[in-house]
């Protein structure tokens, strides 16, 4: 099937149901990221003639000779004028094999928060490097963000191979250095691919020049990488979003707990515990959007019925009785600060975790992390926009928070400014980086784990 996917797409696009992969890109304008994304869309026949005509027109108006594929992905006027990308943009394309949602994030130093945002929902991240420069500080920053956000798959796209004579040793050295670094941060899967986005080598079409490379093109890898990990390995978590009570003649006693399964698998007959009350019951029915089923799993939206009439409301968490989430009012987490107003110890905030929002106080900010070299700065006194740091938070009510390492859905939270509702900070409970050996480690309350 090598190289066939694009051609297949043009004429017999994915008409049947297929899988969906969410991925993110990181890299700067200089690395050719916009060109890579443009090439991916263009060569997979996802750019349609009217969009291409608009790009050609805009390129001509700027006095450019060839259509600038980067223009396909430039959204807002302010950016077009500045020639930069200032926010996360989402792009959509499909091949016969798979549907893709791409979070396209700018890679400039001050936009860490954008990559954090894009990576938060990504199952795969493509990190771009310029073959002439190799692994630079920014590359290490991108790898660190992917590792922090627990993105399971990382692709290293070594771009501009045409400018280093398509030399294998150049690629091999960069790939080895990056793989060593990302593995030390606990990134589980790393796939280096040599490409030229400008010339089109190994993006969609296999490179004729780099015959020494036997691996997949970027698109082939995106099409074939496993999408979801096995939910049966995770403890089930069901944050209640909404209680459905029709109280109608047809359904006088119906009471269903509506929500999206955040992790794991739920089965009819299973004994469950409700946090924070600690009360127990048994699942008597699962309604999967109109179908009565015996089993459901993440990320399905369902409605549960329980054997007992418990006092359950939005914000409660239903979990199996034998693997309930621990509840606590003290939370230690790694955060990325998102807002232009700094975060300081003593700040009174709202904390949004799954379907519950509670009052909270930022008790301490023990350290700030420099992503370039992973050095930590104790007691920074505050975090400003794009800072990554550790915080200790006290919540007004006990929350069933998992370690982010175990569950991205139930280990993540937002800090919100109660005054104007602004989203201030994105938080990940537990230790910052995975243990590269893959073993479990004890949470370290006041330091970084490497």
């Amino acid at each position: 099937m090598t190289g066939q996917s694009a051609a297949d797409t043009a004429d017999s696009a994915a008409i049947s149901a297929t899988s969906l992969l969410r991925f993110a890109t990181a890299g700067s304008v200089d690395d050719g990221k916009s060109t890579l994304v443009g090439r991916l869309l263009h060569d997979s026949k996802s750019v349609l003639s009217d969009q291409l005509a608009a790009v050609e027109l805009a390129s001509r108006n700027r006095g450019q000779e060839a259509p600038d594929l980067a223009l396909l992905t430039d959204g807002l006027r302010a950016e077009r004028e500045q020639g930069i990308t200032i926010d996360v943009a989402y792009r959509y394309f499909a091949t016969a094999r798979r549907r893709f949602v791409l979070a396209d994030t700018p890679g400039h130093v001050q936009y860490t928060r954008n990559m954090v945002t894009g990576a938060s929902t990504a199952e795969l991240a493509i990190i771009l490097v310029d073959a002439r420069n190799g692994v630079v500080e920014q590359t290490r920053r991108h790898a660190a963000v992917a590792a922090l956000l627990r993105v399971p798959q990382v692709v290293l796209a070594v771009n501009k191979m045409d400018l280093v004579d398509y030399a294998e040793p150049v690629f091999a050295a960069i790939a080895a250095e990056f793989t060593r670094y990302a593995a030390s941060l606990g990134v589980p899967e790393i796939t280096p691919i040599p490409i030229s986005a400008l010339a089109g080598d190994n993006v969609v079409t296999p490179s004729a020049t780099m015959d020494w490379y036997g691996g997949p093109t970027v698109l082939e890898h995106l099409e074939t990488v496993p999408v979801a990990h096995d939910p049966s390995r995770d403890p089930a978590r069901f944050p209640v979003q909404y209680v459905i009570r029709p109280q109608s003649a047809a359904h006088p006693d119906y009471r269903g707990y509506a929500g999206q399964i955040a992790s794991g698998v739920l089965r009819v007959g299973e004994r469950v515990t409700v946090a924070p009350s600690g009360r127990g019951s048994v699942i008597t029915g699962i309604d999967a959007l109109g179908q009565s089923v015996d089993v459901a799993w993440a990320p399905q939206s369902v409605t549960l019925s329980l054997a007992d009439d418990l006092d359950i409301s939005r914000g409660d968490l239903i979990a199996p009785a034998d693997s309930a989430a621990p509840t606590s009012q003290d939370l230690t987490a790694t955060v990325c600060h998102l807002h232009d107003r700094p975060l300081t110890p003593g700040a009174r905030v709202l904390l949004k975790h799954t379907t519950r929002t509670v009052k909270a106080i930022v008790r301490e900010i023990p350290s700030r992390l420099t992503l370039d070299d992973l050095s930590q700065h104790p007691e920074p006194g505050r975090l400003v926009a794009n800072d990554i740091g550790r915080v200790v938070v006290r919540t007004a009510e006990p929350l069933p928070v998992d370690r982010y390492a175990d569950s991205r859905a139930t280990g993540s939270f937002l800090l919100i400014d109660p005054a104007d509702g602004a989203t201030l900070t994105a938080g990940m409970a537990g230790e910052a980086f995975a243990d590269p050996s893959g073993g479990a480690e004890a949470a370290d309350e006041d330091g970084w784990d490497f």
């Binding site: 297929t18 954090v116 938060s120 909404y242 999206q260 698998v265 109109g290 509702g421 994105a426």
Partner: protein
């Protein structure tokens, strides 16, 4: 070209979900979040396919209970009669509450002026904001998709609007994981886009999978049309052929349904949903580029109108 709407082997494994299952669960999650966090949500419903899919998902999200939201239609007065008939039938069938804001009322009162080109889509903003204000709606569901247009690629699922309905790209909140922040001050409201991550093809596949009834004008039919600005337009109360434009009967269908004055038909013989999907999959034109004059206005047209409070 096979048009089988079955789960392919690609989605194998005991816990696999198809892309439609994933998108459906995500949209339902968004509806339930809004129901849990807002006082007075409303769904913008035009009788077009995106709002039909939106309504279908919303009904699923709360079944067997009734829909906890009202519907709002900003009626330009230039709608296809088939679409208005469909709208009223759906409202009656599900016992829904429908509010209609009429552009014509605002023109009659002198609060809006007819544009020289006769297009009324840009006139929808004022009645929309007026209705939001009058009913104190705090969350407004729209069927906008991020794949539709470049400015929308950066739109949030929860998009904060100020008391003027304005959208400031620099005031939008970062959106991470599945954590949507709907906090807003009195007078402000949040636009919510449950179909953010859907594409045109996804919408059609879902309509097919769920066997959702849609207005007949989406299927190929014979209709009197004339050519203007590269589009096939249907004459109606809004106006018709001028000067050298000539009206003739052609077999056409609509890919989007908006205002008759600016929604063009495409020549098509697709009479079943499978044929429509096959046609779209092979199409070399994006949905709006082919059929919507209002998006062609300028490269930054949509961005400007969003800032003014349009969707």
């Amino acid at each position: 070209m096979k048009a089988a709407l079955s789960i392919t082997d690609e989605v194998g494994g005991p816990f696999a979900l198809s892309h439609l299952d994933v998108l459906e669960s995500e949209a339902v999650h968004i509806f339930r979040e809004v129901a849990g966090e807002f006082e007075r949500p409303v769904i913008l419903f035009s009788g077009g396919k995106d709002s039909i899919v939106m309504l279908h998902l919303a009904l699923k999200a709360f079944a067997p209970a009734p829909l906890p939201f009202a519907l709002l239609h900003v009626d330009t007065g230039h709608n296809f009669p088939e679409v208005i008939a469909y709208r009223d039938a759906v409202v009656a069938r599900h016992g829904l509450r429908l509010e209609v804001a009429l552009v014509q009322d605002f023109i009659d009162r002198g609060e809006l002026r007819e544009r020289p080109d006769g297009t009324r889509n840009p006139l929808q903003t004022v009645p929309l904001l007026h209705a939001i204000d009058a009913h104190r709606f705090d969350a407004v569901f729209g069927g906008g998709r991020r794949d539709e247009e470049k400015a929308r690629a950066k739109e949030r699922v929860f998009s904060l609007r100020d008391e003027f309905g304005g959208w400031d790209p620099r005031r939008q909140r970062p959106e991470l994981w599945q954590l949507y922040n709907g906090r807003h001050a009195p007078g402000e409201h949040v636009r919510v886009f449950p179909l953010s991550n859907w594409t045109e093809l996804d919408v059609w596949q879902y309509i097919a999978r769920e066997k959702i009834e849609i207005p007949a004008i989406y299927y190929a039919h014979h209709r009197d049309v004339f050519r203007r600005d590269g589009m096939w337009l249907a004459p109606g109360e809004w106006g018709g052929a001028k000067g050298a434009e000539t009206v003739a009967s052609r077999q056409v269908r609509y890919r989007t349904v908006g205002d008759m004055s600016c929604t063009g038909a495409v020549e098509s013989s697709a009479e079943t949903i499978e044929q429509i999907i096959a046609e779209i999959a092979a199409s070399r034109l994006t949905e709006r580029g082919a059929t919507r004059a209002d998006d062609k206005l300028s490269e930054a047209a949509m961005e400007d109108r969003k800032r003014e409070g349009y969707f």
